[in-house]
Symmetry: C2
């Protein structure tokens, strides 16, 4: 845990705004003016792999498009990025209920939601016979 890493973690912990890398960089720079953006990215990555922080929504490195405009959910393969539909009806009642509670508490206007499941597609699950644990390590590397 270097000085830079320590400061980066401290700053992320201080910020309750779910900062972007750039926002972290700006905050860290006030304490370590010579720090580079590369170092911030590198350490945010390390810190998230070590479980100190979490990346929010890294599921889609690229934008994807869907000609089905109905409400439905997806499973995303964390290895190959493949996206499949989930052939279930959304649990609409539960989600509507949640949306109502959010509106009451947070003062947000809620316009919709995303629910996606992350995992391994059948192909990636089987490839090279690796164990599930090794797969998960691979995803996090």
């Amino acid at each position: 845990m270097t000085q830079q890493r320590k400061v980066i973690l401290e700053e992320v912990r201080k910020m309750h705004t779910h900062p972007t890398a750039d926002e972290v960089y700006e905050a860290v720079r006030k304490r370590l003016p010579k720090v580079s953006l590369g170092t911030v990215y590198r350490n945010l990555d390390i810190l998230s792999k070590e479980g100190y922080i979490r990346k929010i929504d890294q599921a889609y490195p690229q934008m994807r498009f869907d000609s089905n405009t109905e409400d439905h959910y997806h499973v995303v393969c964390m290895v190959c990025g493949r996206v499949d539909d989930i052939p279930f009806e959304p649990p609409k009642d539960e989600l509507d209920e949640l949306e109502k509670r959010i509106i009451q508490v947070s003062k947000y206007t809620i316009l919709g939601h995303n629910l996606e499941f992350l995992g391994l597609c059948p192909v990636c699950r089987k490839s090279r016979g690796d164990s599930l644990e090794e797969k998960i390590k691979e995803i996090n590397s």
Copy 2:
């Protein structure tokens, strides 16, 4: 609806793989060899604004970081990108139930899920006194 736009839409409708822009470009190029990637992006954008297709997960243009590594959900402001925590327990039973059904049907190995609510934060909701409908238009422009 130009020829290019029509072909792009047809190809997205043919592909049930939730293609990336590049994959659409490759497919369209087989029919319109001179089409440019810029045109594909422009038209995918237009088609999604007109409701013919959907972009999957456009919530986070940038990666964000969270020092709270516990399972919890977020609301994302579609105008300013602000992310807030939802102060509710996840509806764990329903989601576990859903995960089980997905495993049965899709053969995916499910490792987790994202559930996020999209809307307008209190600040953006109020700014300039616009109506909600105008706000939504603004988001889609």
